[in-house]
């Protein structure tokens, strides 16, 4: 089995390096093909491993070599394939294979074609390390690695100011979280003496809660960064500057879910500290609705999808926080499929309309882009969680979890979010594909994407449809080998049915509302005139609650100004000036006193005599004081000194 593990791990690396060879040369079709094949082989290897794991085979655990070893610290390059990591591996390899193939078409006309594949495969490699590592340090390698790749890929079109800006924003914001992660790792090491998952979690059982809490908090801070949880969420929307396949792979299916993975991976830790779990859940719920609201009004399809991703991540954290780790993981998987599909579809649309993103400039594309329309619609249905598509089984499950655990606030919030989700998803569907044509007026001549791109997307479509009812049970069987097998059943059948059907109806209703509102031929393009647009709520949402503005004004600018002050005022005017001042002072003393050497003989003689006299008077004073020391003391004592 090891060799499959190595294939799964290193095939992406090989692919990346291979593509890297051609970065300097103009576009080569075969680079893309080879890369896709290599990633596909990784997928195949993972599948084999999956069957192995499903077949109840023992966990594959290898130790490649030592990385760091000093003092009590021992960190190997160790990799493990267990029920959790195999899930992630499957998701990662599958989606990335599809995205690679898709990109061959999507990046067709881009000069950076080869470079793109190099980066993309590099990302897959780091992601694999992240999910397969058997210790926190290895996880951190992958953690930073995906960060680096996402920096490269967001800034892929580096000539665009916005792109590079977004790239840096993403990197730095993630760095903030990574610090938390790092501290978490330190805590783990100094308290458990190891960074290996098994050893560490075993040792945590007998640590005081306070320490555990701190560990949990710091690790979760790390997770917040990668999974773009509030308040570190702004980078995700801006990350949409990158090419669409990137958004599909990194910012929907895989990297952003790393945070969820971390929490699931450390379930044994979080099981010990339910309070932190509750906090995570609440934050998740909040982010879910918070993001959904922002998605309602946004006029950029990719950003809308990005926000929906954010909100779905909120769902996952809600589940994980409530201790339903397998549910979280399950939703992670299902979500990966339909969200990637959604993104790729969006990519098709952009392609068709030469990178136009405003849905209000589209409409009626359904006629020309049937395939895409079908895919995106179904994906949205899945996202909305309509029976029997994937979303229903994964997402409604989370609702149940919340309900059963009597966290009714969280439940309500999530339920509400479900409605919003349905609404904004179909808002863009309607705007893009239905209603009357608004784009030809703008001189667009849309065309369907290449066939093979659609073919490449089809597996995702299928999975988005069937993943739910086919996988749920076997998946449950598998993953609960490792994770707490918490079954969630509403006690009374009646209540259950009411809940489910109620949710469904609510969702469907909101879908129809969306259609009704945005398919009407008389839809007016928002131009800042309508009453709704001037309402406070709308402004708040369209400006993303003014959070980016806040960051710009109150963090970025002050930092820049402070730096300048520190340099020009403190460093130059104070620190350095002091040093030069001392030197200057000495020199100035020389300049000012050199006239003592007037060169005039009688002055010299005067100096000499003066010196003698000074010494003489000192001597006399001293001599007298000795001579009359007795008298002096008596006088002083007389004076009462």
């Amino acid at each position: 089995m090891e060799k499959y593990l190595y294939i799964a791990l290193f095939a992406p690396l090989v692919s990346s390096l291979f593509a890297a060879l051609f970065t300097a040369t103009p576009k080569k079709q075969f680079v893309g093909i080879v890369a896709s094949l290599l990633i596909f082989s990784a997928f195949v290897a993972s599948t084999i491993l999956l069957t192995h794991v499903l077949g109840g085979g023992e966990i594959v655990h290898v130790e490649l070599m030592t990385w760091m070893e000093t003092g009590n610290l021992y960190i190997p390059f160790g990799f493990v394939v267990d029920e959790i990591s195999i899930t992630m591996m499957m998701v990662v390899t599958l989606v990335s294979t599809i995205v690679h193939i898709y990109s061959i078409g999507y990046m067709d006309h881009d000069t950076g074609f080869n470079r793109f594949f190099s980066y993309l495969s590099a990302f897959v490699f780091s992601m694999m390390i992240l999910v397969m590592s058997d210790n926190f340090a290895g996880l951190f390698i992958g953690w930073e690695g995906v960060g680096l790749c996402s920096w490269l890929l967001i800034g892929f079109w580096y000539h665009k100011e916005s792109a590079t800006w977004a790239a840096n924003e993403a990197f730095i914001m993630n760095r903030v979280a990574d610090l938390g992660m790092l501290i978490g790792i330190f805590l783990v090491f100094w308290n458990t003496g190891t960074l290996q998952y098994d050893g560490a979690f075993a040792a945590m059982a007998n640590l005081d809660t306070e320490t555990l809490t701190w560990i949990g908090i710091f690790l979760f801070i790390g997770a917040m960064g990668k999974s773009a949880q509030f308040p570190l969420h702004t980078w995700l929307a801006d990350a949409m500057e990158g090419p669409t396949p990137v958004s599909a792979l990194i910012h929907a299916a895989t990297m952003v879910t790393a945070g969820v993975y971390l929490v699931v991976r450390s379930n044994e830790l979080y099981a010990l500290i339910p309070n932190v779990g509750l906090f995570i859940a609440s934050l998740g719920a909040f982010v879910a609705i918070f993001a959904a609201t922002m998605a309602l009004v946004n006029r950029d399809i990719k950003r809308v999808i990005a926000y929906s991703t954010l909100s779905q991540l909120g769902y996952m954290f809600a589940a994980a926080g409530l201790g339903a780790y397998w549910v979280a993981l399950f939703h992670l998987m299902a979500h990966a499929f339909f969200k990637a599909l959604l993104f790729l579809g969006g990519g098709n649309v952009m392609h068709a309309l030469s990178n136009e993103l405003d849905p209000f400039k589209m409409g009626g594309l359904g006629k020309t882009m049937k395939g895409t329309m079908i895919m995106m619609t179904l994906a949205s249905v899945a996202l909305a969680g309509i029976f029997p598509l994937a979303g229903f089984f994964s997402k409604d499950l989370i609702l149940e979890v919340a309900f059963v655990d009597h966290h009714f606030i969280i439940y309500t919030v999530l339920l509400l979010t479900a409605g919003l989700t349905a609404f904004y998803s179909f808002r863009i569907i309607a705007l893009i594909f239905h209603g009357e044509d608004r784009h030809t007026a703008l001189g667009f001549h849309p065309h369907e994407a290449y066939k093979f791109m659609l073919v490449a997307m089809s597996p995702l479509l299928i999975l988005a449809i069937i993943a739910g009812f086919t996988f749920k049970m076997p998946y449950f069987e598998m993953v609960t080998q490792l994770l707490p097998a918490t079954e969630y059943h509403v006690h009374s059948q009646v209540a259950y049915w009411i809940m489910t059907i109620g949710t469904q109806l609510f969702v469907i209703a909101s879908i129809f509302f969306a259609y009704k509102k945005y398919m009407s031929p008389s839809i007016k393009v928002p131009d800042g005139t309508s009453k709704m647009e001037n309402s406070f709520a709308y402004k708040l949402l369209i400006n993303q609650y003014y959070i980016p503005y806040f960051y710009e004004e109150y963090l970025v600018k002050p930092y820049r100004e402070l730096s300048t002050i520190l340099w020009e005022k403190v460093d130059q005017k104070i620190v350095d000036a002091t040093v030069d001042g001392i030197a200057g002072l000495i020199h100035a003393t020389g300049e000012n006193t050199r006239d003592m050497q007037s060169g005039n003989l009688s002055t010299m003689l005067k100096w000499m005599v003066a010196g003698t006299i000074v010494l003489l008077s000192l001597a006399v004073v001293f001599g007298l004081s000795v001579r009359y020391s007795g008298e002096i003391t008596t006088i002083l004592s007389g004076l009462g000194v």
Binding site: R594, D595, Q597, S598, G599, N600, L601, S602, L605, K606, V609, T612
Partner: protein, 102 residues
Amino acid sequence: MMEIGLNHYLVLSTILFTIGLVGVMRRKNLLLLFFATEILLNAVNVAFAAISHYYGDLTGQMFAFFVIAIAASELAVGLGLLILWHKRHGSIDLDTMTSMRG
């Protein structure tokens, strides 16, 4: 009619010496400057003579003789230099010799 003792001699020599010092400081004329230094030395001679008489040994007087000798030779050198300077600058005023300063 008071008896003149050692201290009087010492005081005298001190006074002379002080006069010499003042002269050294005040005089701008090289020649007078030399006189001043001579006064210094001779002030000391007085004291030496007195003290050696007081102790009744000759060391002090020996010292005095040596001082006289040295004073003489000093004066010789000094006058030589003085003459040289006068030849070149036609002046023996101290203020003429300030080419080096700082």
